[in-house]
Subunit: 338 residues, 4 copies
């Protein structure tokens, strides 16, 4: 055809290391909850434009169900300890929990919502009213630059410099590059965070390097962009096609209305890809994503979107994470703080 | 290839008549605001699974800008009169405004948000305290079935039967079948509404037929499904390809970073479609949408999504519509009720 | 002095029968939680301008403490059964829970807040999806007349007439006539309710008489008027004076900073009342209240007020009541629905 | 009687200088809006436990009425200039607006609510996108110590030290010592503020002395304590009695139902005070307040309260103040930002 597709200045929109790393992952399964533990050294980190450090990713199904949420909480508590333990907190340690994001934008409100339910105790310590079994915890919601006119990292740097906490824990809503992970993944890392980096408006880094104290960043993807939806869909179409083709003459398959073809690991042949999708079918997944981005971006339709039900889901996520923080930091806390 | 694609039980997800009707539309332009006036007779209505009636659709750009919002409000006031006038309200008429949808779900909260700002006067009339220049207005937020356990249409039927208003105006968030219309379209119709029909869980109709009083339904699309995003994107890829091809040897085009190729009406050749997109490229737009739906639906990823900024946009939309209702119903109201 | 104080058109502002009834009360104590069970026959009911029926009043201390809230919940569950049992619900019974009041006014939002956390199941029954252990429950938030322009009782009458529930349970914020009961009392009655009656703008009754189905009304006083604060204070001054006088020569009392003189049952002599408070000291408690009302009302300062912390307290109260309803109606519910 | 009333460790709960200063006030009237301009030198300031500086107090009636709110806004804009002008801001000046208080507690949410509507521009200046007619404005909501575990003044000191604004404007809800001023007074001062000082839990000062930049503190009283309600009422009873006595034989007065006796300046005789109120009637206003405080405080009933309608009123107050700030700081802003 002679017309070549050019894909230079594209950057995949994701805050999840797990979506970028391909090897060196360690997996653990707790029933249907999957944990991936990645240690990223500086070389590998640079390749995928992330900071070096440990990335623990928990993948789960629906947590709007009470029983399921309790199961995920147990795993979260266990995995969170892997990042807290190396910090060696003692009874006098101060932990600063920071709720990043915008309280007034549903998919960006995870951080502030967690802070609403976090047990704050630092002022009690100040008045010698802190019981045994409780650590010193302070909490902060810096707001977003569009509301404050101030860089979040600057605001945080000044506060940390004064408070001198032994650990900073940030909570933030993230961007995913796949619809499969939306609201169904928690990433925890000791590598810090670039607030807003996943949605393209990169802010200054918040990390041990910049704050001079250990930082644990906890995040959940709550938005995805239109190009990811399209490239995911093309991928599903391949799998659907492969599955249908193999089962075409199988009378049983006719009855399997709504079969989940994703569970079957049947791969499409390269020739079928090209047959089905022409030139587009000959591109790699990354190149397709680039191409779609190039097409949608200039006309303003590479929308960042969130599911219709986000208001409900994000409440559950915030309650899950705040419960876990309260139980992980204070040995005396056993029940949900409502 | 031998394997045929089967597309039967699909129904396009849209509440917008304008997306389904192809002829008989009357267009008016007020600067960059476009109004489409459609009279749908029973025959044509049945074909697209809508009720017969007049559908006035206003399309506009960004209303988060103050000046632009004021312009849209003027057009809205003017067009709304075309539906209110035939009802022949007088000074003693009672208008019932109904805010459909779910206050706690951002993209579904348009109706309740409008009710918050609507000027309610019916109880003043009851105590003879209603000044000249104000009509009798009552307002109602029925909630959604998942919260109340009661059919919205049943709740409304009983109330209307008792109140006997001269006109019912409903406000609801809708589903669009194109990302271009999200938050940028207001549909007004005297044909009534099926709440939730656009998102697949069809509820009982709210219309003059069922309530026995005139009904004006005002709606704004705030959600779109993943299949629409994919089919829209394929369409944009065609246009982008056609534009790029034509301008390939034109050195000027190399400089046009971020050019809006949608404005140029250059159509792609059928052969290029097939070349670019294989079998998929040979399908009609509707068939592509069906196919994507068939692929995404069984695995739970035909998500209904809303833009990341919906919290802010829906506030502006609610303020626009409530202002317009207050000014249209009460001759004495000139300013925004905050 | 010749100038007489005239106290005719005054009516004490309270929704609590316990504040009006003086004999025939049956008391039970669960640790520091006090339950008063009153059966009011028509004669006695008329005297205090209440409806005949059973009034169960639970008085407790601070429920912002987790342990304390759990204790109150147990008592509430037990006492609520005394009103639910006589209705003889079975597995097919439908219960309609109605959240009276105004969601947007903190001290009036108890009803809507309870509805937010109530488990609604009626629509599941409709689709045959209701598991054993769950009753059919529908929920409704009618709003207030100032927002809807419609009488709440009319709205409810029409809905009940259509739904035909076996029991209606209303939740409402009440007015107390004493600061001691603010947020620390739950009244439950089978006598129904006049929404807003405690705050002087009497609405039409909601009861078995008007709705033709059994009604249980649950209420918590969240506001009190200025005259009650003043008359309470004069009462406390009497007690404080009597206590101080008796302990004047007791050196030990000098050390008792902040002693709670209310616990001591020392009564002031009538002569001391007159000495301390002049003419006002010779009036009965009710007459003092009347007098203060006469003085404050014409100048607009008989304010209905609520404690500064009401936002937090009302959340806890709503969670207490919704938990109790969920556990009382559905045998399968054991934990808090968050 | 021999028993003396002891009134030592009492401190009147008010943040309003106007309630403490008795002379040296300059009054201006704009129709029914009253402005009092007080310059407090260090000597006089110390006497009433306030900081030296200029205190401008605006008293008005109901601002839930649109016309009235617009009138108050004009006066507010004019008076605010008297405090801004001496700071000598230029086009490059940076103003930091700080919303003190607790967003989740209605009567304490004024500061955060104002910030929601304040036009923030500092980040635009950073990217050279600030148009002429707009100043650089940053905004900050520090939260309260119970939520953050951090002293507000510390948080602010660190931020100011980094940002180096030319002016800090704080907005806070205050405590009044009279029900007449609740929600009907705006105090503006260049003397700074002690957040929470009016409600008894004194925090560290925020002022030019501590922050090293000019500070303008804007506050509105939204809470009052029970002792103030009682002492106000006794005062009204005196006035009511005096008025009634004088008009006892005047047949015309019998018809004056609901006459506003406050408007008439008829004073009660000292003998009548004692006759009416006994020993209490012989005490000064301050001593009565002390006495009531001594009686209510130990039993936990010196409640800080807010009017039942506070949710609505505080929204109007926030909109009034944010409009005024936007119009005072940016010459280009003419309309309400919604």
């Amino acid at each position: 055809m002679g017309h070549e597709i050019d894909l230079k200045n594209y950057e995949v929109h994701t805050d999840l290391a797990i979506e970028l790393v391909e090897s060196g992952k360690e997996n653990i399964k707790y029933e249907d909850i999957k944990v991936t533990d990645i240690i990223l050294d500086s070389d590998n980190a640079q390749k995928i434009n992330k900071k070096a450090g440990r990335y623990i990713t928990i993948e789960f199904e629906d947590i709007t169900d009470y029983e399921n949420k309790e199961k995920v909480k147990k795993v979260l508590n266990k995995e969170l300890q892997k990042l807290i333990k190396p910090v060696s907190l003692n009874d006098n340690s101060l932990v600063l929990i920071v709720g990043l994001g915008n309280r007034k934008s549903t998919p960006d409100s995870l951080g502030p919502l967690v802070i609403d339910k976090v047990l704050v105790t630092n002022h009690l310590a100040f008045y010698n009213q802190l019981e045994a079994g409780f650590k010193k915890v302070a909490a902060f919601v810096p707001g977003v630059m569009g509301e404050t006119g101030i860089e979040t990292s600057d605001m945080l740097y000044n506060l940390v410099n004064f408070l001198k906490p032994d650990l900073v824990i940030t909570i933030d809503a993230l961007a995913a590059s796949s619809i499969e992970r939306l609201n169904k993944t928690i990433q925890m890392t000791d590598a810090g965070i670039n607030p807003g980096s996943g949605v393209g408006n990169k802010r200054k880094e918040i990390s041990k390097d910049t704050l001079k104290v250990p930082v644990i960043a906890i995040g959940v993807p709550t938005v995805v962009d239109a190009s990811s939806i399209v490239s995911d869909t093309i991928n599903y179409m391949y799998k659907h096609f492969a599955y249908s083709k193999e089962n075409y003459d199988n009378p049983a398959s006719k009855l399997q209305i709504g079969v989940n073809y994703l569970d079957k690991s049947i791969n499409i042949a390269e020739a079928d890809k090209k047959n089905l999708f022409g030139i587009v079918g000959s591109l790699s997944e990354t190149d397709i994503k680039h191409l779609v981005f190039e097409v949608l971006n200039p006309i303003g339709y590479n929308l960042m979107v969130t599911p219709k039900e986000e208001d409900f889901v994000i409440e559950k996520l915030a309650s899950l994470i705040s419960d876990s923080l309260n139980q992980s930091l204070h040995t005396k806390v056993k029940h949900t703080i409502d």
